[in-house]
């Protein structure tokens, strides 16, 4: 009965192969390294989409497998973005300041450079001092670990309070949404130290790589995002297979029963909540450099609701479903909202997809929930399977059939 990790998770190999083919194709066709058939802007869209697929995996872990409908994971995604953004913006501004001061007769002191950076970054909100939360931003080695540490700490504190109090179901969803909204409102303030509604910008430039064209940078980020998604998929498959996966599905289906088996359910929830928050933050840390800009609007509760919609449409409770849902819906969304979809003139009214896309998405969500509860990923179940002969013995496809039972 002992089977290897891959035998227990046949989707892993298929997924990795599909992702490799996709990545290779895009790399070859892209402007940066290859034939130039795919413009840089679209490479960035694809790279960002891969990051969204990664956060959808996290959502599937927490919602599809553990049954906790969190409406706050895009907040962790944005926090991850802010944490890398601080470093990128500081480093970029420092380069500009050093360049500007290079012409002066006396070489600038480090203090003068730091002051110059602070004025550059915070002039827009009327400040000239670097807030305490920027203390690490001058060093990648100090700031980048914050991508993991800050969301992890946030998730642990929130999760500990919520799960210990046995907040469940829709109440927990509301609570996570409130957390997201509170965080967004806080960041909108100018004195929160993250430039208020201006957010952080100029994130598309990597420090020290000013000479490298965006067409190449975009491919690097695209490849990094693909590698990250592959890693995330394998990690998620590891977590959801075996006894731990059993325990997670047990929490989803009957947590009280699992408690009476001796499992510390609150500990498991906290573990998964924190783990998925970290995955979301890492995805965000790679998304925003490709987007170039981040502002508090990214934390809007609607973003987390979209995340849930992607996973539901893709098929929750299966990892590839989440990836397919996020990829498919977010690409479709950028097609419709990017003005690329042709408007439909009805004579008395013209349907502009930019306005009507959300209606279409909402309708699709309702239809999927009603008629295809397993989502797009569920279509894979309909693929022809080995001929099994005989009538079903059990209530559904998973049951043994006559001939098999005899064998």
């Amino acid at each position: 009965m002992t089977r290897t990790f891959l035998a227990r998770n046949p989707s892993v190999l298929w997924f990795l192969a599909a992702l490799a083919i996709f990545t290779l194709t895009v790399t070859v066709l892209a402007e940066g390294l290859g034939l130039g058939l795919i413009p840089t802007a679209f490479v960035k869209v694809l790279g960002k989409t891969l990051c969204l697929c990664l956060v959808a995996l996290a959502m599937d872990l927490i919602w599809g497998y553990t049954g906790i409908l969190s409406l706050g994971h895009m907040a962790f995604f944005a926090v991850g973005g802010y944490m890398t953004g601080m470093w990128l913006m500081y480093a970029r501004t420092e380069e500009i300041v050093v360049q500007a001061l290079a012409g002066s007769p006396i070489p600038p002191t480090p203090d003068e450079v730091a002051q110059g950076v602070a004025t550059q970054i915070f002039g827009v909100v009327g400040g000239s001092d670097l807030p305490a939360i920027w203390s690490f931003a001058h060093s990648a080695w100090l700031q980048l670990p914050m991508v993991v540490l800050v969301p992890a700490l946030l998730a642990m504190i929130f999760g500990w309070l919520a799960f210990r109090a046995r907040v469940n179901g829709v109440y927990l969803s509301i609570l996570t949404q409130a957390m997201t909204l509170a965080l967004a409102l806080y960041l909108f303030q100018n004195d929160s130290g993250l430039r208020g509604n201006n957010g952080l910008s100029g994130l598309q430039n990597l420090p020290g790589l000013g000479e490298v064209p965006q067409s190449s940078l975009s491919i690097w980020f695209f490849l990094a995002s693909a590698a990250l998604l592959a890693l995330g998929y394998v990690a998620a498959a590891f977590v959801t297979s075996g006894k731990f996966g059993s325990a997670l599905r047990g929490i989803r289906d009957d947590e009280q029963r699992l408690r009476f088996l001796g499992y510390p359910v609150e500990g498991y929830k906290l573990f998964v909540f924190t783990l998925t928050a970290v995955i979301a933050a890492i995805a965000g840390a790679f998304y925003y450099p490709q987007a170039g800009i981040i502002n508090p609007a990214e934390l809007a509760p609607i973003a987390s609701i979209y995340l849930a919609v992607w996973v539901a449409i893709g098929g929750r409770g299966r990892l590839y479903g989440a990836v397919i849902g996020a990829g498919f819906v977010s690409l479709l969304s950028s097609w419709f909202t990017g003005g690329m979809a042709p408007s439909i003139p009805l004579g008395f009214y013209t349907i502009h997809w930019v306005d009507w896309w959300t209606v279409l998405l909402g309708l699709a969500f309702v239809l999927v929930t009603l008629f295809v509860p397993r989502g797009i990923g569920g279509l894979f179940d309909k693929l022809p399977s080995p001929r099994r002969h005989g009538a079903q013995l059990g209530p559904d496809d998973g049951a043994l059939r006559e001939k098999e039972a005899d064998a």
Binding site: K243, F244, F260, G262, Y263, D396, G398, A399
Partner: protein, 254 residues
């Protein structure tokens, strides 16, 4: 006259002076109950007598307003422990309706229940050993599910689910077993098997059976505790308690 278990030197579970009130309703009223480390006990009583609340208190689901509950050779209070901690200390519970994880296979259900470390980190890196496989196979064999290991638990018949749940309880290796109406929904033959199993189990551990079915209890042939309005009305052999006029009035006479 049926035999009564010999006097115990130590008790495994000791519930004393426990009361609990729900919205002004006294579900349990100054209840005291003791069971030895190897004893079979039947608990009977009319609906609302507090049988389920009693189990809820022992397993940590409900906190009593007053009283003490201690467990083990070196008595430890269960009142400050969570449900999971109590379960790990060795209290197993079987619910009235079969509660198995329907979306998972029979063997996954059993593996989940096998006595092992329960902390998330340990479970994440847990790997099945040959010993575990042998245990799962033996448990499945014991309850007649050896041919169904790969099937989803949701596909099993009602009776098979009951047996799976019993196997899951055994997998936990509890020292005290609380069994809520085991005979419900079982065929005559299955009842016979269940009785034999419970009697056998009580040779190595404490077993408390809550049951309505008098015929079933007679076959268990053990000491009986009668609950009424949240406290013990009578205790002793089945013949002894059925002769008690108070018991006849509140329970049997109807």
């Amino acid at each position: 006259m049926t035999t009564i278990a010999p006097p115990r030197i130590t008790s495994l579970l000791e519930v004393s002076g426990v009361s609990v009130t729900f919205d002004g309703f006294r579900a349990i009223n100054n209840l005291s109950f003791t069971i030895g480390p190897q004893e079979l006990r039947a608990v009977i009583g009319p609906n609302g007598a507090g049988k389920t609340t009693f189990m809820d208190i022992v397993t940590g689901k409900t906190r009593p307003d007053e009283g003490t509950v201690t467990f083990g050779e070196v008595p430890r209070s269960l009142l400050r422990m969570s449900e999971a901690q109590i379960a790990r200390a060795g209290v197993g519970r079987k619910f009235q309706r079969p509660t198995v994880f329907e979306d998972q296979s029979v063997s996954e259900n059993l593996i989940l229940a096998l006595k092992a470390q329960r902390a998330p980190w340990r479970v994440l890196f847990w790997r099945e050993t040959g010993q575990d496989r042998a245990k799962v196979a033996a448990l499945a064999e014991q309850v007649g599910l050896q041919d169904h290991l790969a099937r989803k638990a949701g596909e099993l018949s009602h009776g098979q689910k009951q047996w799976l749940e019993i196997a899951m309880l055994l997998a936990q290796e509890p020292r005290l077993l609380l069994v809520d109406e085991p005979a419900a929904g079982m065929s005559f033959l299955e009842r016979e098997q269940t009785t034999a199993l419970l009697v056998e189990l009580a040779k190595t551990r404490a077993v408390v059976v809550v049951e309505h079915d008098m015929e079933f209890i007679r076959r268990l042939n053990c000491k009986v505790t009668v609950l009424h309005e949240g406290s013990v009305l009578a205790e002793g052999s089945l013949d002894h308690v059925t002769k008690n006029p108070q018991v006849i009035e509140v329970y049997l006479g109807r």
